[in-house]
Every structure is written in structure tokens, then in C-alpha cells.
């Protein structure tokens, strides 16, 4: 069995599973945020009317709550959702509620690794499609809707069809100007936005072995854009060290068998990778940065679970150090812990000196919620994950998706720019 099959076999109490088996998996961790939480509350209200007992959760200690999409509250509806969320966690005895304005908080997928909330080998579900991110820690991490998450919160289990696995093997390390974001954009361009539908996308090979945990998080994050059920990297000592330094204990490493089966193995050479962008209006619409259209950009956005981890900010700062931005540029660190490290290590000063506006952790404009959404006809280069019509604001705005290096280089020139071509 491969790693996902092993995790799902363990979670469903079977000796083995194979692709297409339908199982009920016991869930180890579950998450909701300020969009899916109120959605789940609404489902609970419906269930109550049907006479279903919703008075207690299966295990409040395994549930955690993030405030990320519309915080700090954008207007009164989002403020009311935050109040609903607070009442929910209080009523059900959920201790891990990361509240903005009260210490550590941030984007749910960022908290999952920054706070070591999910461990290798676990089944983790969240009320958000980018829950896939956390598979980089070696967990089976999968996004679900409100009804499914409500079911998990009440009963601690959920059905899955065991996915087949595509193995993406990266031979050799990526060049210095290329980031994990470029590699996952390359893959999505190759297999399309439904190329991973219902499947696991697993990453390995020497190029992934040498990657930081944060880079692997970027890979798994955007498996969602290929439609995948989950993304995963087999955990190694780096993951153990990463989680241990954040307070985790009892980490056990799980790996697939030597003779594990994959539906497909697709190989890439690290040395051949280049900086890429996804042009409007799909993450599969890939172009090499040096061949990208010469459009006048209005904005550069460095934020989100995809592109505002510490290493993403570090990459942007490397470019912006001693330079000035030519277009509006926003940096929104993905959590308070990242914000603080960025401050302590001087990154925030570099950003401010370059003319950047620094925002609080939030999903913000990535999903067109607030904090810098785009006007009609505005064009943005962004370290986020989606560029569908209207994703970041007006339906006639445009988003180019890129790595933080490219987004920062483009902020300096106002055009889509390969970091190697900066004067």
C-alpha cells in the first residue's frame, strides 16, 4: 500500500484498502473557520428540526477553529459570524479557537502547521478546499463541505472512496530563482484543473526531499486547483523537526511500502523548471514568465495560505531589499507567528522601505472578500491560488498567479517579471 492507503486502512480499521473501496474513516482532527463554521451551525439548526441530537460533539479536543476569511471583520455580517463562531466554541467546549486580536491567529491552513495541529499519519478534514495543504506533513488532509463537516463533528467519521494516487517525482533540486509554486503551476498546466479530480497527488523524489516543509506545503496546497482529493508528501526527519520545534510530541513516521502502487508516475527534472505564471482565468493557463504578456499591472498581492508563509515573505524581501515598488503592493503574513518572525528578522522594514502596505493575517482579497479587492479592469499579480473570473474582486478584473519571487519582481517593474531580469 502507498501512504494514503495505509492511513485510510488504519483509520477504517481494515488490514488493507485499495483504490475505489468505499470506507468510513475515523477522523483524527477537524477544522472549521468563519465561513464553514456558521455553515455548520446552519446545518446543526436544520438537524435539530429533524430531531437529530446535536447537543454535543464527538470530541471537542480534536476540533479547532480559525478566523480567517473575513477578519478583522469587514462589515457587520462578518462581525456577526465571528460572534456566532465564539458562541459555538463556547457552547461545545472547543478550546482551540484562534481569535484575531488575541495572540496567535491566522489562515486555517497556516495554523495547521505553525501550531503543529496535525501530525503525520492522521486523517484531517477541514471545511475548506485548501485543507489539502496540510498533507505536506504526511497526513491525509481533505477539504469537505458544511454537511460533511457537521457529520464529522457529531460522529467523528466520514465516508471516502479510496483515491488512486498519481506520484509526481522531482529529480534534482529546483534552481534558486524557482520556487515550489512554479513546480505546482507547471504540474497543473500539464494535467489541467481536473487532472487530479478524485485522486491523491503525491510528491517525492530528490527534489522534494531537499525541499523545506514550507515549500512542500505550497505543493500540496494547490493540488486543490487540480481537483485532487488530497496532496501528500511522505514525512521525513525535516517534518519531525519542524513539528517538534512547534511543540508536537509522539510523532511517528509513516511511509508507503516499497512495492506501493501508483496509477501513474510523472517525472520532472528540477534543473528544467522555470518561473511561471498562471494567466487569467484558470490556474492551468500557464506561461513561462519570460514569455508572459506585457501587461501593465495595477497591483502585486503577497498573501494567502499559498504564498504568505515565512519563506514566501523571505523570498519577496530578498527581491524588495533596497528597491521601490512601482505598483500598489500588499503583504499579508499568513499568521501572527509569521508576522512576528518577519518583524524580528527585519523583513517588515524591508517591505515598508520599498513602499509596501502590510496587512493583518486574513484570506482577504485572495477570495475577493475584503482588504484590497480588485476594481473593474484592474490587473493583479498574486501569490494566491485561484484566478477564476471575479475571484479577487470585480468579475472583469484579472489575476496572474505566481511565486513570491515573481510577484515581488513584478511589483518593482510594474510588468510581469522574471526575478533574474531585474536591473
Amino acid at each position: 500500500m502507498n501512504i494514503v492507503e495505509k492511513i485510510l486502512a488504519r483509520a477504517s480499521g481494515r488490514d488493507s484498502v485499495a483504490p475505489d473501496d468505499v470506507i468510513f474513516a475515523n477522523v483524527d482532527k477537524a477544522m472549521v473557520h468563519d465561513v464553514s463554521g456558521p455553515g455548520v451551525i446552519k446545518v446543526f439548526d436544520k438537524l435539530k428540526k429533524q430531531g437529530i441530537d446535536v447537543s454535543k460533539l464527538w470530541d471537542p479536543s480534536k476540533v479547532w477553529v480559525a478566523e480567517d476569511h473575513f477578519v478583522p471583520s469587514a462589515e457587520k455580517v462578518s462581525a456577526e459570524n465571528i460572534v456566532k463562531l465564539s458562541n459555538f466554541t463556547k457552547n461545545y467546549g472547543i478550546q482551540k479557537h484562534f481569535k484575531y486580536g488575541m495572540g496567535q491567529y491566522g489562515i486555517c491552513h497556516t495554523l495547521s502547521h505553525e501550531e503543529a495541529l496535525v501530525l503525520p499519519g492522521e486523517v484531517y478534514v477541514g471545511g475548506d478546499s485548501h485543507t489539502n495543504t496540510t498533507g505536506a506533513l504526511g497526513a491525509f488532509a481533505c477539504g469537505l463541505g458544511h454537511t460533511d463537516v457537521a457529520y464529522v463533528l457529531l460522529y467523528g467519521k466520514i465516508w471516502f472512496k479510496v483515491p488512486e494516487t498519481i506520484y509526481f517525482k522531482l529529480n534534482g533540486k529546483l534552481p534558486e530563482h524557482v520556487m515550489a509554486k512554479d513546480f505546482i503551476l507547471k504540474i497543473i498546466g500539464d494535467i489541467g484543473t481536473d487532472g487530479g479530480n478524485y485522486k491523491t497527488m503525491q510528491f517525492g523524489g530528490s527534489g522534494v526531499d531537499v525541499m523545506s516543509v514550507e515549500s512542500r506545503l505550497t505543493l500540496c496546497n494547490m493540488t486543490t486547483e487540480a481537483g485532487a482529493k488530497n496532496g501528500i508528501v511522505e514525512p521525513d526527519q525535516k517534518v519531525v523537526d519542524y513539528l517538534t520545534s512547534r511543540g508536537a510530541t509522539n510523532i511517528s513516521l509513516i511511509k508507503g511500502d516499497e512495492n506501493a502502487e501508483y496509477s501513474q508516475i510523472i517525472e520532472y527534472e528540477g534543473s528544467e523548471m522555470e518561473p511561471l505564471v498562471a494567466k487569467p482565468f484558470s490556474p492551468e493557463n500557464i506561461a513561462v514568465v519570460r514569455d508572459a504578456p506585457s501587461v501593465d499591472l495595477d497591483k502585486s498581492y503577497i498573501g494567502s495560505c499559498t504564498g504568505a508563509k515565512y519563506e514566501d515573505l523571505e523570498a519577496a524581501a530578498k527581491i524588495l531589499k533596497g528597491r521601490k515598488v512601482k505598483i500598489r503592493t500588499e503583504v499579508l503574513p499568513a499568521s501572527i507567528s509569521i508576522y512576528k518572525r518577519a518583524m524580528e528578522n527585519g523583513l517588515l522594514t524591508i517591505f515598508l522601505d520599498a513602499g509596501v502596505t502590510i496587512g493583518p493575517p486574513t484570506c482577504g482579497a485572495c477570495c475577493g472578500a475584503h482588504m484590497g479587492v480588485l476594481a473593474k479592469d484592474e490587473i493583479c499579480i498574486s501569490t494566491t491560488n485561484r484566478n477564476f473570473p471575479g475571484r479577487m474582486g470585480h468579475v472583469d478584473s484579472q489575476t496572474y498567479l505566481s511565486s513570491p519571487l515573481v510577484a515581488a519582481a513584478s511589483a518593482v517593474t510594474g510588468k510581469i517579471t522574471d526575478p533574474r531580469d531585474l536591473p
Binding site: G143, T147, D148, Y151, K161, G227, G368, F388, P389, V395
Partner: protein, 161 residues
């Protein structure tokens, strides 16, 4: 189940056009319905009738896990979406929440059925009959678990064996 077709002859209709991100904070189902398909077809809300079906291409509902998407369509009156394929989260949200039927069709049905056609979906026979054009097409049968959840009326009413 009989209804009229609203056709979007394209692939990859994503959740951001089915219900734009700015409405994610909204949890009033009737209000969500007024914004359904707003990102693609601003006239959708005025033209959709109770019992209508949407017909579309590949990878319908790709993108976010927002259950707002099947909710907005269902509370607009849409009873089924017929598509060449579905993105996984939209598909399971539609079924587990019992919002609408996601029906996988073949190229023949996709090409032959036009906007406004009246069709009858017979999930017992896995058949779609085009009443307007007097044609019949096959639909892809539901997998066993999906069939059982649909029959039960959603995940919460489904009792695993």
C-alpha cells in the same frame, strides 16, 4: 423528474462564478439564491424556474468547498445539474446535503440537448429523455454509495451497512 434546461456550453464552471466569494459570509439560503451564477450569467436569477436543470461541460463546480454553491443553485429551483463531469467537492456536497442531483452525461446528450429543452431524468433506468426533441440518452449510473445516500435523502439519513 421533469424540467427545462438552462445550458452553459463550457467546461470548468467554478464555484467563484456559481456564488462569488464576497457572499461566503451569507448563510441565508434565499439570499444566496439571488446571487447564484452571478459571476457568469447575471440574468440567471430572473430566468430560472423551480424544477429547472443546468446542463454544462466538464469539471462543473471546480474550485472551493463552499456548500454555498449547491445551496444557491438548489434554492434557485435547480433540481439537477447535468454535466460531462463534476469536481469532487461540489459533487459530494450536492449529494450529502441532498441539494440537487449531479448527473454525469455523455457527449451525445451534451451536444444534443439545447437551452429550453424539456427533459425527463429517470435515475431508475439511468436514462434522460428529451421530450422536446424526442430523443433518449444514457446517464452514468451513480456509484453504490452515492445511490444509497441519494435514496436516503442525504448523508444524515443514510445508515451505513
Amino acid at each position: 423528474m421533469k424540467g427545462h434546461i438552462i445550458k452553459y456550453a463550457r467546461d470548468n464552471i467554478d464555484t467563484d462564478v456559481i456564488i462569488p466569494g464576497q457572499y461566503l459570509k451569507v448563510h441565508d439560503y434565499a439570499e444566496l439564491a439571488t446571487h447564484a451564477m452571478e459571476g457568469l450569467d447575471p440574468d440567471f436569477h430572473s430566468k430560472v424556474k423551480d424544477g429547472d436543470f443546468i446542463l454544462s461541460g466538464k469539471n462543473f463546480g471546480c474550485g472551493s468547498s463552499r456548500e454555498h454553491a449547491p445551496i444557491a443553485l438548489s434554492h434557485s429551483g435547480i433540481k439537477a445539474v447535468l454535466a460531462l463531469s463534476f469536481a469532487r467537492i461540489f459533487y459530494r456536497n450536492a449529494v450529502d446535503g441532498a441539494f440537487l442531483l449531479p448527473i454525469e452525461i455523455g457527449e451525445d446528450a451534451y451536444n444534443a440537448i439545447s437551452e429550453g429543452d424539456e427533459v425527463n431524468i429517470d435515475i431508475g433506468k439511468n436514462e434522460i429523455k428529451n421530450i422536446t426533441k424526442n430523443q433518449t440518452y444514457k446517464m452514468k449510473p451513480f456509484s453504490e454509495i452515492i445511490g444509497k445516500i441519494i435514496e436516503a435523502g442525504g448523508l444524515f439519513n443514510y445508515k451505513p451497512d
